[in-house]
């Protein structure tokens, strides 16, 4: 993984900066009120961490475990089950391209190649040398009639073709 200013976290002996401080704790309290158990707030809590830090480190998982009264191993077990939680730093823009069958027959693989080239990420899952882009293939994004759909961060973009890729990449730069 390349160095990435906004997502990298201090490793080793450096002091850990907790995610759940005042405002975040308030948000967590609101979430906890929706469920009869603390554990049920786990998925939303992990989303809060990822939003704040860009990815979810082992230290973050330990903090979430402490806040919700779970063990770090349990939290890791859940994080690793769901594909949308990043366990490593990713590029500033994270691109998910659907390549499941319905998109595949409409040319999704060419869209992947165009994205890898235009972003400089070069290979799937790798981050571009400038730290700006990570591109991955994902299974069905649920927009099969509008092939090929991609997600750039939280932006859902449909009917992407290799031709429209350079323009999309330019807009996010």
């Amino acid at each position: 993984m390349s160095a990435d200013a906004h997502t990298s976290q201090p490793a080793g002996t450096e002091e850990y900066q907790p995610v759940f401080t005042e405002q975040m704790l308030e948000q967590l309290q609101e979430i906890l009120a929706r469920y009869p158990t603390k554990q049920a707030a786990l998925l939303p809590a992990l989303w809060l961490v990822q939003r704040a830090r860009g990815w979810i480190s082992d230290r973050n998982m330990a903090e979430v475990a402490e806040v919700l009264g779970l063990t770090p191993a349990y939290v890791k077990g859940v994080v690793t089950f769901y594909t949308m939680y990043h366990q490593h730093p990713v590029g500033k823009h994270f691109v998910q391209v659907c390549t499941t069958s319905p998109c595949n027959i409409c040319g999704a693989e060419a869209v992947v190649q165009a994205l890898l080239a235009a972003t400089g990420a070069k290979e799937l899952g790798a981050t571009s040398p400038d730290g700006k882009w990570t591109v991955i293939e994902v299974e069905c994004l649920g927009a099969c009639g509008f092939a090929t759909p991609i997600l750039v961060d939280d932006d859902f973009i449909e009917s992407v073709t290799p031709d429209s890729v350079p323009e999309i990449v330019r807009k996010y730069k």
């Binding site: 049920a40 859940v78 089950f81 069958s101 595949n104 027959i105 299974e139 099969c144």
Partner: protein, 443 residues
């Protein structure tokens, strides 16, 4: 009825979501999709102006059992895939309330080929919220969770806004409705996996029984319904069960309208709403504009990727209702229609589907964890020109051991396209095995 051409409502940085870009065809019956494309219908005020939340008021004035009876009489069946009668499902909840009751709404739409629930949430979020509140009243639930897949960022934002508006208008009374965002796992569309996911667990399906009505989310009596099912409930209350039951072109066991998501090799893919019993052939050739110029239909998966593939003759003689699709050897499923023309490499596409299931297996059951992975590997080997003559029998044997042997049906869903694909397109597999066709993958 709708008249204006559907316009893209949100254009993101790269072009954004287009969604429902077609003018309704005269042969469509627009009940759920009536307000698709009208961006203002998303607001609480405009929804009330369109008659929204009247059905909820009507339901609240009734005994819960009466609401269940009306939905039973309407013949409404679950639109998520299984087609279980909705009113009957509601009636399984304990009559006498001793514990908290929950309602779960399955908005984890992830079945390849299916993209209807997201349109309901994007255009008519209040239709879903109203249906949710009516169902909660019927089953006496005080809390409802709407589980939305993590990738649906835009539907989630729209639902959040709609929920906040309706809540502040006080329409839900004591009922609490919460949105719960998934985090990328197809299996969470399985009802008990979804409940585990709400509880903050890995999305592993549970062994049944106990069924959700006895022990669902948080171990309490729970009903779970699909988005499209619940969105159909308000019109059933306002217009009556008999009216809804009358919407049927064939089998009396299949009533009402259904959204069909059509994708793949048709000229105008998209969501089309038709009365059940509508001919699949007409959906593809009339409503969707048929195949691309110079191309002919080869195959069709009529109900999302988990159901058997139909060949051309079966497709062209298939009626779109629960019984009609079964008669042709497949299932209505979620209504996700995937169309392949003569340019499609069926072996490669079946491999892509197998790879999907291998990726999405929760890995609890051996037959599924190993079966989906090996099915994919064998198909990849065939596509790389290294298949063995016995591979087709091996795939069929594997598939047999993956069917009806696991906690949930993900494993069966992987086997369905493989078995039907080998049966109907065997020569395409043999072309790779004999070297008549050049390898398209690297081993």
């Amino acid at each position: 009825m709708r008249s204006a051409l559907r316009i893209p409502h949100s254009v993101g940085k790269g072009g954004g979501v287009v969604g429902y870009p077609h003018k309704p065809h005269p042969r469509e019956t627009v009940l759920l999709s009536r307000y698709f494309g009208e961006a203002d219908a998303r607001t609480y005020k405009a929804w009330v102006k369109r008659g929204g939340y009247a059905a909820l008021e009507q339901a609240r004035a009734m005994e819960p059992a009466r609401v269940i009876d009306i939905v039973k009489e309407s013949g409404l069946r679950g639109r998520g895939g299984a087609g279980f009668p909705t009113g009957l499902k509601w009636s399984f909840m304990p009559k006498e309330k001793k514990k908290p009751h929950y309602l779960c709404v399955n908005a984890d739409e992830s079945e390849p080929g299916t993209f209807k629930d997201r349109e309901i949430m994007r255009w008519t979020p209040h239709a879903l919220l109203e249906g949710t509140a009516i169902a909660a009243h019927a089953i006496q639930a005080e809390v409802a969770y709407i589980y939305i897949r993590g990738e649906f960022t835009e539907p989630l934002a729209i639902m959040e806004k709609a929920l906040a508006d309706a809540r502040s208008a006080g329409v839900f009374g004591d009922l609490k409705i919460h949105l719960h965002r998934g985090a990328g796992a197809y299996i969470c569309g399985e009802e008990t996996a979804l409940m585990n996911s709400i509880e903050g667990k890995r999305g592993n399906p549970r062994i049944k029984p106990p069924f959700p009505a006895a022990s669902g989310v948080f171990g309490m009596p729970t009903t779970i319904n699909n988005v499209e099912t619940l969105a159909a409930v308000p019109p059933i209350l306002t217009k009556g069960a008999a009216w809804y039951k009358g919407l049927s072109l064939s089998s009396p066991k299949s009533t009402g309208t259904k959204l069909f998501s059509v994708c793949g090799h048709v000229q105008q893919p998209g969501n089309y709403e038709v009365t059940l019993g509508f001919p699949l052939k007409d959906l593809l050739y009339e409503l969707c504009g048929g195949m691309r110029p110079g191309r002919t239909l080869k195959a069709c998966i009529p109900g999302g990727s988990s159901v058997p593939i139909l060949d051309r003759a079966e497709t062209e003689s298939c009626l779109l209702d629960y019984e009609g699709v079964v008669e042709r050897g497949s299932m209505l499923g979620s209504g996700g229609v995937i169309v392949f023309d003569d340019s499609a490499d069926m072996v490669y596409q079946i491999m892509r589907l197998a790879r999907f299931y291998a990726h999405e297996s929760c890995a609890q059951c051996t037959q599924c964890r190993e079966g989906t992975a090996w099915t994919t590997k064998i198909l990849e080997r065939i596509l790389a020109g290294q298949g063995k003559p016995a591979d087709l029998d091996l795939l069929l044997d594997l598939s047999e051991n993956m069917t009806g042997k696991t906690i949930c049906v993900l494993s069966d869903s992987c086997a369905a396209p493989v078995v039907s694909g080998i049966k109907k397109f065997r020569s395409e597999f043999e072309d790779y095995l004999t070297g008549r066709r050049k390898p398209v993958m690297v081993a």
